[in-house]
């Protein structure tokens, strides 16, 4: 039998939003809920409790603490007379009223709205946050997603550029204690990522450049230990750009790397972020996927948006979503964490941006079956933040609202200060709070922007255009590979001849760099020399004609 909660606002208080939100969350957690309504007199509330026979009595009061003291004293007495004191009581109100309510000793939990939303869920699940220890918090990504649902889990990048790891260690502790972030995504400096196992290649002059300079297993363990407080966030780190498997093992055993991010076409000589050739890195990334797939560790696709960051047109980004999902599945990945980076490139309109993300979702999720799951992750475009912090806060909130249309399981919050400086612990906490408020609002009902006709039309167009590229790659590999989409040679060749291309790859010796793109009506299209939209069919024909 389902547990029952009776909720209502007591006395003359007509504010019901808080208690209704609480009851809504309780319904989602499987409770039967009943609501007495606003301004419920003590007698009415007691009467309702007699009819409902609830397990938990939830009352709210948001007026003055002075009135609350009298009202709650009367309420407690009435409950005693009605034989209800054996029940469980929860209170919601403003912080000063909560303090008054706490003094009655009647309530086992009190919510003032200052606590994180997951505190309410944790209470409803029978594990109040304040009583939870490291062992109580889910230790893996998928478990944490399930535990926190319907809220998505929140991830933020963090790694302070400095000579030592100490500022980052202190920052992680501060963030964990704030309880607003679920996954600390460590941002290492370049040598930690590229030359961890090769001290001789490290350059002391650039120590700490771009991230936290961990140099040893002990450093990693220290960083992880700092996160074991507050809400015990999970931790992960950027993958290495060389010695990929060795690096993956290192991260797993030191910081319990909650998932692995892999790329396909990036983090090599083409973008200057690794020593490997394009072909080699494609092969290594595939091996890395396989290694994590065999260990049931989720794999994140740190991939399609990299094309967008280089101004690739939308169809290429969508085609890459399809290719990456196909590869991940073939490599035995069971849980693929997608990343839909919005506002990339930054001049996309909200409508066309959403259409692009929906096309990516449709293409990637076409591979989903019992053995292959997709976890949707969204994030704000790196290039979209203004330098002005107030504008940037607006951008963060607006972006997260748009992202919520995709119903993500993970929201990768990008600190609003990123265009100005690397996020400090306070910046991370503030950004997460902004995002959490937006998410909370969305979860109580948002308009379905995905149903917009123009959005749907563009999504369908993109799916079709993307598949032209995918089929062209298939054609490229015909007779050379059984599965061209998992063949590093074919994939590298697709980049070299420009099937997958971006304007910012112009002059790059490892890519084609001939495509021109242009934002038209908020969407990014490939265009010809005169700036006219080029369909993928024509573009592909021209590429093959050049060969």
């Amino acid at each position: 039998m389902r547990k029952k909660i009776l909720g209502g606002s007591l006395g003359e208080c007509v504010h019901v939003a808080g208690v209704l939100n609480f009851l809504g969350l309780a319904e989602e957690q499987g409770y039967q809920t009943e609501f007495t309504g606003p301004a419920t007199s003590i007698a009415e509330y007691i009467a309702a409790a007699q009819e409902v026979d609830p397990d938990i009595l939830a009352v709210s009061y948001r007026l003055t603490p002075e009135n609350a003291a009298i009202l709650l004293s009367d309420f407690q007495q009435a409950c005693e007379e009605a034989g209800l004191l054996g029940k469980r009581f929860v209170f919601g109100g403003t912080p000063p009223v909560v303090e008054t309510a706490r003094k009655t000793g009647l309530f086992e939990a009190l919510f003032s709205g200052e606590e994180p939303p997951d505190a309410v869920i944790a209470y409803l699940k029978g594990q109040p946050l304040e009583q939870m220890t490291d062992a109580d918090y889910p230790a893996e990504t998928l478990d944490r997603i399930a535990w926190k649902a319907p809220f998505p889990i929140i991830r933020h990048h963090f790694g302070l550029p400095a000579e030592t790891i100490e500022p980052t260690v202190a920052g992680i502790r501060r963030i964990a204690e704030a309880g607003v972030l679920d996954i600390v995504s460590l941002g290492p400096d370049q040598d930690a990522q590229q030359s961890f196992f090769h001290p001789e290649r490290q350059d002391p002059r650039r120590k700490g450049a771009g991230g936290v300079p961990f140099r040893s297993e002990e450093d990693l363990r220290t960083l992880y230990a700092a996160s074991r407080c507050g809400n015990y966030p999970l931790m992960r780190s950027y993958s290495g750009t060389s010695d990929l498997l060795r690096y993956a093992e290192l991260l797993r055993r030191t910081i319990r790397n909650t998932w692995c991010a892999t790329s396909l076409f990036w983090f090599n000589v083409m973008d200057g972020r690794g020593p490997l050739t394009l072909r080699e890195s494609i092969g290594d990334h595939m091996a890395l996927m396989k290694w994590h797939g065999e260990r049931n560790i989720p794999v994140e696709g740190n991939e399609p948006y990299h094309w967008g960051l280089r101004d690739a047109h939308d169809a290429v980004i969508c085609a890459d979503s399809y290719i990456y999902a196909h590869v991940a599945k073939k490599m035995g990945v069971r849980d693929y964490i997608t990343t839909y980076m919005f506002e990339t490139p930054p001049h996309l309109s909200n409508k066309m941006d959403l259409a692009k993300a929906l096309a990516q979702v449709e293409l990637a999720e076409s591979f989903v079956d019992e053995g292959f799951h997709i976890v949707r992750q969204t994030r704000t475009g790196l290039m979209s933040y203004p330098v002005d912090p107030d504008y940037a806060k607006g951008q963060l909130a607006a972006s997260v609202y748009l992202q919520m249309a995709l119903k993500p399981s993970i929201v990768h919050v990008v600190g609003y200060v990123e265009a100005h400086h690397a996020a400090t612990p306070e910046d991370v906490i503030e950004s997460c709070k902004i995002a959490r408020k937006v998410i909370t609002n969305c979860l109580y009902g948002m308009p379905d922007m995905t149903a917009d006709l123009e959005v749907q039309q563009r999504k369908d167009e993109l799916v079709e255009e993307a598949m032209v590229i995918v089929e062209a790659i298939g054609q490229l590999g015909r007779g050379k590979a059984e599965d061209p989409l998992t063949n590093p040679d074919v994939l590298a060749r697709a980049v070299e001849i420009g099937l997958l291309d971006a304007p910012q790859l112009k002059g790059n010796p490892y890519a084609c760099g001939q495509v021109r793109t242009r934002i038209i009506n908020g969407a990014n299209y490939a265009v010809d020399e005169e700036g006219r939209v080029l369909s993928e069919k024509v573009r592909v024909e021209r590429i093959f004609a050049r060969l």
Binding site: M1, Q32, G37, E44, Q50, D53, L63
Partner: protein, 479 residues
């Protein structure tokens, strides 16, 4: 007539019927007959005679039929004969629930909407003394509720056990917590005649009275009417379809909603002043229309009936005086130095009294005004004022009928009194008591020939014709 809404009501098939139909109300005082010619689509005869329930109910009926026969309509000419009844105290019910303001009130509303007269209602676990009292009242039916679905089940099971152990022979309609039903069934099974239907209050904010009403009506038709001296009458009318108040409520609902072919009047209130009771029927949502008003209490049924058993002009004249007070009733009557206790005593013992003097008429008018004022005050919702840091806010309990567009007076007084408008105007909003949500500026009508009950019956055969006849019969008294 002003028509405000397009209809959706489909009580019965509107297929063309022909011939004469006889509509009968075996009332507590009078047996009333209305003859309708379905071919001509009009009322062709009406008669009234004293109800003879104490001896043989058909005696009064035959007397009324003879009057129609004299008008050229012999009994065999009626192809259809439909009847309702409130004779012998009407359908006398007892409501049992858990909390007075919740399941007990929901049970009361279900029973009242089914046309019942509630003898008493009981809350929480019945005591042996209460059980004895219930048995002593010899109800026709018991409505047993308690607990929302999934809520408390201890009380309804306790009460079922007590009822099972009693000498009661009345059928029990069980409409409580569905989780408790298997055990209640087991408890009552074989010992009492029990009928099970959906919970009248499945959730705190959800009133669900229709299934219980349907169950009560079915039982009334099958068991109760016959047992109340109607067996002989049933040979003539085939079956007594419903209690009279239910027929009036159905007529009011039809008049408000209309049918697919005939538009209704929109939301309305009918005040039916009788000798024993004053019934108020509102067919209206009554929700708050201002943002600063929030609703409290049990949800209101769209078609709501309240019965004031202490506000009647004859049988209940004594209790009317007690409810209103001598001074106030004198003010309503507009005459001083009347010996009101003696007057109401005489009226109560001579229910058939017809006013013959100007003073008699003034007394009837004053009592009607008092009955209308008090019954509407008890029917409509109220506002309570609350001061919040953000400003004033109001808590509404019950229906807000201030914007109600139509008000109808029915019953003997509205047929016979000259000052019909004056009497009906007592239902209106009064600035000195702004927190009583009475109609402010409705169009006012009277049921000129007192046919609403009959049209509630006719709606079983031909809703559209019933609606047309009601609209034709209404006389506007707004000015």
């Amino acid at each position: 007539m002003q028509e405000r809404t397009s209809g959706g009501s489909e009580r019965a098939s509107d297929e063309p019927l022909s011939g004469l139909v006889l509509l009968i109300d075996f009332g507590s005082t009078y047996t009333k007959l209305v003859a309708v010619d379905l071919d001509k689509g009009r009322i062709v005869g009406q008669s009234q005679s004293l109800t003879t329930a104490e001896t043989d109910i058909t005696l009064g009926l035959m007397k009324g039929l003879r009057k129609l026969e004299e008008a050229g309509m012999p009994a065999p000419a009626f192809r259809h004969r439909l009847a309702c009844s409130s004779a012998q105290g009407g359908l006398r019910m007892i409501a049992i629930g858990l909390v007075p303001e919740l399941t007990v009130e929901a049970a009361r509303r279900a029973a009242l909407g089914a046309g019942a007269r509630i003898l008493r209602s009981y809350a929480h676990k019945l005591s042996p003394a209460e059980l004895k009292e219930i048995v002593g009242q010899e109800p026709d039916m018991i409505l047993l509720t308690g607990g929302i679905d999934g809520g408390d089940h201890h009380v309804i099971i306790h009460n079922a056990r007590l009822l099972a152990s009693s000498s009661l022979s009345a059928p029990i309609v069980v409409a409580g917590n569905k989780d408790a039903i298997p055990l209640v069934k087991e408890t009552l099974g074989g010992r009492k005649e029990a009928h099970f239907t959906a919970n009248v209050l499945p959730h705190l904010g959800q009133l669900n009275v229709k299934p219980a009403r349907a169950c009560i009506r079915q039982l009334f038709m099958e068991k109760i009417a016959g047992a109340k001296g109607m067996r002989n009458a049933e040979r003539f009318v085939q079956r007594v379809l419903m209690p009279t108040p239910m027929a009036v409520l159905r007529a009011a609902q039809l008049l408000a909603e209309g049918t697919k072919r005939e538009r209704g009047l929109g939301e309305l209130m009918v005040i039916d002043v009788g000798g024993a009771t004053t019934d108020v029927h509102s067919v209206a949502r009554g929700e708050p229309f201002q943002k600063t008003v929030v609703m409290r209490g049990l949800p209101e049924p769209y078609a709501k009936r309240t019965v004031e058993g202490d506000l009647g002009l004859r049988v209940s004249a004594i209790s009317l005086l007690a409810a209103v007070g001598e001074e106030r009733l004198s003010e309503f009557i507009g005459l001083r130095n009347l010996n009101l206790p003696a007057i109401v005593q005489r009226l109560a013992t001579h229910a058939g009294t017809v006013p013959t003097t100007a003073q008699d008429a003034a007394i009837d008018l004053g009592m009607t005004k008092a009955a209308v004022r008090l019954s509407v005050e008890r029917h409509v919702g109220t506002l309570r004022e609350h001061f919040l840091p953000e400003g004033f806010c109001y808590i509404q309990q019950g229906k807000d009928l201030t914007r109600l567009p139509t008000l109808i007076g029915s019953g003997g007084p509205f047929r016979h009194l000259q000052e019909r408008r004056q009497a009906l105007a007592e239902a209106l909003y009064r600035p000195e008591n702004p927190f009583l949500l009475r109609p402010r500026n409705p169009r006012m009508y009277v049921d000129r020939h007192y046919i609403l009950w009959a049209m509630g019956l006719l709606a079983e055969l031909s809703p559209t014709l019933a609606l047309k006849l009601m609209k034709d019969n209404l006389e506007e008294v707004s000015q």
